[in-house]
Symmetry: C2
Subunit: 308 residues, 2 copies
DNA sequence: ATGGGGGCATAAGCTGGGCTTATGGGGAGC
DNA sequence: GCTCCCCATAAGCCCAGCTTATGCCCCCAT
């Protein structure tokens, strides 16, 4: 009201200006945990005035009082407790990001070299890396992402210690253990006619409908092509899972994705799963390693984590 | 190696310096979606050089090439696709944060005033608000968090249109619909002796063990006290779910929390659930409204979302 | 072949947010 | 009453990120 600014209809567009940055959120979490601005500042290696000012500017930005200050410490307000919890989820995602990014970078002198398919690297590995870091903080992990064949090759040439692939059968020359199951799902935006569909799609219907797909060569695409007999018709081909999801959410058409990739979207009903019949879209997720060389050390540790 | 910096053992402490800020992550997502730095820049309302420089500094920070630039556009590298997906999850959490924060602030002239218990406000409402915003972008929602009694009062005095509470029975004077089920769980860090325990805990054992708890008066605490006959022994009392989780994860002792609150921690094995027997820790999550006044308009919309 | 447009990079300069140091006031405990 | 631990304010510094102004490259259409 009264501000000209952009022509954005408030709620669309850059969220970064409306959400405090990660440093501020971490600070808030520290304040919640430690009960004082000064203590939180010390933990983060900044000075108390810096913490004080940062919390205050966060309160100004959000328009809500977050902490009750007193000469004996600071406690969260009710709103502050909520905000802090929401902040925790952002920070959690950031930690997963960091764990993954570090593995992408560490290529040198890593004690554990992992090769994984895209889907697994995207959705499962960061969590595993976090858990591993919790138990073995000094284990440097490197990550190479590629398709099943690339993973197998890395293992056989000794460039990787442990691999993860999705698919119906284990690559030859490798031992494997099934660690989880996955399934491709057909998803549409809630506004799409298929969202209300009860009668399952069959193979021919799926094959004759233009779909939003990953490009040829991706594991997801291969499974679908195989299931349909090489007939999947692309509406558009996109280069990343994220792009496919975004297109589907925006209503461009039906997409086919791993259920790992759309779990959250389904929960939030940004996407709706369409029942499918007569098409085998299931696949296993496997840990793989060179035949006869049971994983030891950090690799064994990681393998244990993945099976729980 | 070679840098003095902090005495932090790399992996501990402030994550904010190792993770690009939200603006950069949003930019990366836009680049992935639109296929060009310039187009992404336009969408975010910045200039092309700004986008170029920001992506470049993000690549420098992460030590990984994210996009392949060409005179005809930019595409993600393999590593970039991974990073973009991980970034998407941070941004998603940020959107939930924003939706929640906006509801905390909007107190005035909101078309839908919601009152909710802490647990529901923390874990479920942001997702609902996002979904609501997707369908009805112009619905201003305000959120008041409080215990069941407070929620009931807000509804009865007309200060709120729709409420959400957790508990065994619906407050009197209100109509209600069960929208989900919840259960308190006993959780410990993986290093805690109870983490390997097979034999379920019984009520007396739980009552005689000092626990990390929310403070008296919180809904979670009340359910536990009731289940144990008012006997829960606090090891420490903390003011927020986040603080309780952090204490439990750090191994301070067993904590009792809603399973909604610890879902992610259990999945990542940062916490382990301890089996419990002979203590009724289940509770319903209910939508509530003044008796006889079925929700209409935006309230009905939201109610539909919660049952999906 | 040639000009235009879309794509990206580099350079120079400005601004503001977030940091620091320095200082002051308020409550609790020995 | 002295001391310690809170927090707030003020003044100044610095760098990250933005903008404007260029230039190069490639493709395509005229």
């Amino acid at each position: 009201m009264g501000s000209v600014e952009e022509e954005r209809p408030d709620g669309v567009g850059s969220i970064a200006h409306r959400v405090p940055d990660l440093g501020a959120l971490e600070l808030l979490l520290a304040v919640a945990r430690l009960g004082s601005l000064g203590a939180a500042a010390r933990e983060l290696g900044i000075t108390q005035p810096a913490a004080s000012s940062r919390i205050r500017s966060m309160e100004r930005q959000l328009g809500v009082a977050l902490v009750d200050r007193s000469p004996r410490g600071s406690r969260l307000t009710d709103a502050g407790a909520l905000v802090t919890d929401w902040a925790g989820r952002i920070v959690e995602a950031a930690r997963a990001f960091d764990a993954g990014a570090q593995a992408l970078r560490d290529r040198r002198d890593s004690r554990l070299r992992v090769a994984a398919s895209m889907t697994i690297a995207e959705y499962l590995l960061p969590g595993w890396l976090l858990a591993l870091r919790a138990g073995r903080p000094d284990t440097a992990v490197s990550l190479l992402a590629g398709n099943s064949a690339a993973v197998a090759e890395r293992l056989l040439t000794g460039e990787a210690d442990l691999g993860f692939v999705e698919g119906l059968d284990a690559p030859s020359g490798l031992d494997s253990a099934v660690i989880a199951h996955d399934r491709l799902v057909v998803v549409v935006a809630p506004v799409h006619p298929w969202a209300r569909r009860r009668r399952p799609l069959d193979a021919s219907e799926l094959a004759s409908t233009p779909l939003i797909l990953r490009e040829k060569g991706s594991g997801t695409r291969q499974v679908l092509d195989t299931a349909l007999g090489g007939l999947a018709r692309p509406l558009i081909e996109l280069s990343s899972t994220t792009a496919v999801k975004a297109a589907a959410v925006s209503g461009a058409g039906p997409a086919v994705l791993s259920e790992l990739a759309v779990g959250e979207e389904l929960a939030l009903r940004r996407l709706v799963a369409v029942p499918v019949d007569g098409v085998s879209l299931a696949r296993d997720l496997r840990a793989v390693w060179p035949a006869g060389h049971r994983p030891t050390g950090p690799a064994r540790e990681l393998l244990t984590l993945t099976r729980g």
